[in-house]
Symmetry: C2
Subunit: 347 residues, 2 copies
């Protein structure tokens, strides 16, 4: 049992406090400068998004008290959205002992200057700027986890990927009978799956928008066709990047895509587009209602990252390419989907 600091008081940061406390770890929850409302809610006895009190004994720190939250912590959970990655990680580096491992819940590519990086790449790049240039002890977490369910005690499993075999015992120390942590080592595959599932979930949402309209007809066949095709394309992508198929066919890939495509903002974004709303308008409408469709950026970032890996790779990613065309409003959505069906299988 040790002291653990969680950075980010949003959905995932707060939810992970439940299994950690259940295992008897000491938990400090630090809110960023965007989390003031959430921190206030927690202090008043109820997390405003999880809609329940945090577990007994979780200590709450507001954004000005990062140093204090980190003092004596033996592990850090990094529950920050990809947009906040750079500023928060830089702050973390100011105060943190480089021996302390970081368990990252961030999903999505991180833009650093002109470059687009996976989370562990971004962390290494930023760590190298420190005087001691020490490589971080980094773990990326992936798998099908809806935060509210995790905090409700619904059985949940996650893969913890790391290049540091010395962290195996820590990873297992977070396990409870209903929260299964699985040590892994495929950072590349896991981080790509975590980022790209938001892109592919848009296609499944588009099917809802296109076919639900046609009253009384079911359309499970086409959704199963595309779920399978998306997982296959994700495998092509991950292999090209040097990651493993097994990750794609496991919890971080198929598992997480399944949950993301079932519900959530990116599915909803796709449904609006499939129903006839132009992509930019759908994004704006959701944004104004406080909902950010991360998949919108994941499509663009995923495509650019693929081109950076190998200029020939995007041509082997027909689904991601079609989504890019739809979001840029260069291809009508019906035409793009019909094209994907007629072109299937793609190899």
């Amino acid at each position: 049992m040790s002291e653990i600091a969680i950075l980010g008081a949003g959905y995932m940061g707060s939810a992970i406090s439940f299994p950690l406390r259940a295992n008897g770890h000491g938990v400090r929850l630090w809110g960023t400068w965007l989390d003031d409302e959430l921190v206030r809610g927690c202090r008043e006895g109820r997390h405003p998004r999880l809609k329940k009190p945090l577990p007994e004994g979780v200590r709450i720190y507001d954004s000005t008290r990062l140093e204090e939250a980190l003092d004596g912590a033996r592990a850090v959970f990094f529950g920050i959205a990809s947009e906040g990655f750079e500023p928060v990680y830089r702050k973390l580096l100011e105060y943190m002992d480089p021996e302390v491992p970081v368990f990252s819940l961030t999903k999505g590519f991180v833009p650093l200057g002109e470059r687009l990086l996976r989370t562990s790449e971004a962390a290494e790049t930023l760590s190298r700027e420190r005087p001691d240039a020490r490589k971080p002890r980094w773990v990326s977490i992936g798998g099908p986890v809806k935060a509210v369910e995790l905090s409700d005690g619904i059985p949940t499993a996650s893969v913890y990927a790391t290049g540091d075999p010395g962290l195996r015992d820590s990873i297992l120390s977070f396990r409870t009978p209903v929260y299964r942590t699985i040590p892994g080592h495929d950072l590349i595959g896991l981080e790509l799956c975590a980022s790209l599932k938001n892109a592919y979930a848009i296609l499944l949402g588009i099917c809802d928008g296109l076919y639900r309209g046609e009253a009384g007809r079911l359309f499970d066949n086409v959704k199963a066709l595309f779920l399978t095709a998306c997982v296959g394309e994700l495998a092509t992508y991950v292999r090209s990047a040097g990651g493993s198929d097994r990750t794609v066919y496991g919890l971080p890939g198929m598992g997480d895509l399944q949950v993301t495509a079932q519900s959530g903002r990116n599915r909803r974004f796709g449904e609006l587009i499939g129903g006839g709303t132009p992509a930019n308008e759908a994004y704006r409408t959701m944004y104004e209602a406080g909902e950010i469709a991360e998949g919108y950026h994941a499509v663009r970032h995923g495509w650019e990252y693929a081109r950076m890996l190998d200029p020939g790779l995007p041509s082997r990613l027909p689904i991601l390419s079609a989504l890019r065309g739809i979001l840029a409003e260069e291809i009508p959505v019906r035409k793009a989907v019909d094209g994907l069906v007629e072109g299937y299988p793609y190899r």
Copy 2:
């Protein structure tokens, strides 16, 4: 364009007539002695299960006219449930030219005497009893296909697995813009997936029964966990039998399990059990309402077939083993599911 005989006027046999006619093939639809009602409905202008007329030009044959239905046919689609496999295939052998390929829509293991066989194994065994002992030109079809959706023109894809490379052109001749046929050669993997997905779908249904009761809580995390675990276990099974992982991670495995777990009788059967109904009672209740939960038999058959392949295999199939315990009412369902969560990952 050629003449094709479809045997079996149930859901799948009738639905496959839609893409075949769309491609201009001549189609004869033969109903078994159990299909008299269906044949009558079709003659009166509406298939009673698909709830629509068959495509223009489909010729209907009742059970007494098999020889006529087969006369001049250049291909046979075999749309017979596994219980009817032996008698109908024996009849087919009486009349059919052995050069004519058989495209099988049957799912499930076929009991022959004391033995339990995959469909292509059963066909070969029965063909060997003919005077000429000719191996059949056999193709097994798998993938996520709900028959009503296929007949509605919802985009659908299927893998056609065969050991006979000469059938590639025929397989492609069934393609339409919305029905994608994909030639493959992994008969073992495809037939095991088609049989076992009905077993594994029960577990996903059990989750619905167990967790839906707890009002207002979502449980996508646990369903995604188990979907991934079932696909992983299916891969273990198929590899042990000499089939390919790719089949499991493609349409016949993951794709079909996804659709089967979403809706259908086996999911419903699991939901009843998860909700507290003893397995035998759930089976009987459904049976009396005219609904056969094939998964009930698939669990037992799948387990026995595994033991026959390798006596050590069932111990590497914790989910199938747990389902067997639940259906035999040896393990309470909640205890079995908790055990599967706590034991995850299984290797």
